[in-house]
């Protein structure tokens, strides 16, 4: 900063401390709740410090789950979420990088048409075409399958654009040198383009993993058998008990477990995450 104003700096610290507190509060409360017993909520005094039931609650979620609401143990749901998030992120990156390669490095009839078809996906979030998309997946017999969970979500204009942008900045001479060195298109793709896109792929992966993990509406629709439930969609089923207070301590334990994997990704790979975020949205 231009000049040193201790008062302004102090204010900045205050603002940020309040900000961090507000940002952290919901998760803290969820964590605290997940360490208490079922009756601690009924006393009317809301606990703000962790209780003694952490191990008990979490191990319960992993072993039996909340059978009253027909939920499988969380291990199964975490696994399903992981499979869905990985399929979506890896699938998105794979099909996007291939099509960006085709669009940038080849000239062929109807190239611009292909480009616009891909572009169109940008304008059609799954939420707005939910009914007919569901019908397609149902007709294809993909309900309650991992394919049905992930494939409809892997087309992505943003990722394609990102790779297109990246490829356009690669010097032409690199391609020409590779051609003279005897590399055909796929060899060039594998030996030169892919290694040079490494960090972008990683950054995109972080973003897409979180996107996939956090899907809600789609898994809610296409999974009706409990062995395919994902954790994010599962929580709601758990909290939705008729005529009774949900078992908040278990719901919150599940929420914490649902948040943990993407949270770790964001915190541990903060640099890649920020890069991916700022770049995919340009």
């Amino acid at each position: 900063m231009v000049e040193d104003r201790p008062l302004l700096n102090l204010l900045a610290h205050l603002v940020l401390i309040v900000g961090v507190a507000v940002v952290a509060m919901p998760l803290w409360i969820a964590f605290v709740a997940s360490t208490h017993g079922p009756n601690d909520f009924m006393s009317g005094v809301v606990p703000i410090l962790p209780g003694p039931h952490l191990v008990e609650n979490y191990s319960r979620m992993f072993s039996t789950g909340v059978s009253t609401s027909g939920m499988p143990p969380v291990g199964r749901m975490l696994l399903n979420s992981a499979i869905m998030a990985l399929s979506i992120s890896i699938g998105k990156i794979a099909i996007s990088i291939l099509s960006a390669f085709a669009i940038v490095y080849f000239r062929f009839p109807l190239r611009m048409l292909a480009f616009w078809v891909i572009f169109a996906t940008l304008m059609l979030p799954v939420e707005v075409r939910i009914v007919p998309t569901y019908k397609v997946v149902a007709d294809l017999g993909l309900l309650n399958t991992y394919a049905g969970l992930s494939i409809p979500l892997i087309a992505s204009a943003t990722a394609t654009f990102l790779f297109r942008q990246l490829f356009l900045t690669m010097p032409d001479e690199l391609t020409e040198a590779a051609r003279i060195d005897g590399a055909g298109p796929m060899k060039f793709f594998r030996d030169i383009l892919l290694p040079l896109s490494r960090t972008n792929i990683a950054a995109l992966f972080v973003i897409m993993f979180i996107y996939g993990w956090n899907q809600y509406l789609w898994p809610l629709l296409v999974t009706t058998s409990s062995d395919k439930y994902t954790i994010v969609a599962g929580i709601k089923r758990m909290a939705d008990v008729a005529d009774a207070q949900p078992q908040w301590h278990l719901v919150m334990a599940t929420a914490i477990l649902a948040v943990l994997p993407p949270l770790l990704v964001v915190v541990l790979m903060q640099r890649l995450f920020v890069k991916g975020l700022v770049e995919t949205e340009k």
């Binding site: 900063m1 610290h13 809301v46 891909i118 939910i130 356009l168 809600y216 809610l220 969609a233």
Partner: protein, 292 residues
Amino acid sequence: MKRALFGNRLLPWLLLAPQLAVTAIFFLWPAAQAIRQSFLREDAFGLSTSFVGLANYAALWGSAEYLNAVRVTAIFAVATTLLSLGVALVLALAVDRLVRAGKVYTTLLVWPYAVAPAVAGILWWFIFNPTVGLLPYVLDRVGYDWNHLMRPRDAMILVVLASAWSRISYCFLFFVAGLQSIPQSLHEAAAIDGAGPVKRFFTITLPLLSPTTFFLLVVNIVYAMFETFGVIDATTEGGPAQSTNIMVYKVWFDGFIGQNLGSSAAQSVILMLIVIALTVIQFRWIEKRVAY
């Protein structure tokens, strides 16, 4: 454009095939179906369908419920966007001021991004739960009887808070990036010209940040309109008395629960038009920025 190109004819189509197939099967075809369906009406037993022209759209225009959804969406989107943008800007300005400590705060501020909107909804639902929640307990002390199960305004505040909260880190990171791209020399020049911090904020920082702000405005409206299904469904489910029934939620509800396919399809088409408009605006902006 590239100069160094490969000459193959078939290969590019093979490379494009997976993307085009997914797009055609899961995007274009359903979108076309939505458009077709929006001109049809099924009888009560689903036995026959007939072409009804724009009747489904006309029905929406006359439906108090739908107009309510439009109004609710507008309030919800504007409130969510302004709240998350405002908070994020204040936090970003503070972080920008504290060079070294800023990094630590940034790490502590980014992680709501990892929380799914649906989970964010559950968390806030719990916090505001009239019987076991922390905030109603506090509000009770100051004489406010919080009840989002009964009172529409409370419900709206709840979904706005949950949606804005899960969006803060996103806006925050973009504001930080925007602030960092303003050259330090501009601040120095203004300081030499006698502008104090407040004046500098309004004459230098804010104008130079306006592209970022505009971008965030658009993407946050898109977010609030289309990606907050989870928040609503995990909390109020559109209630009480339709007070949080945003358009995306209504499309789903009418289509899946109400089985009113024609109306749901017409609503889908309207939403698509809105997304297209917002996308065009966003791209206009990108073009303009490239021209800088």
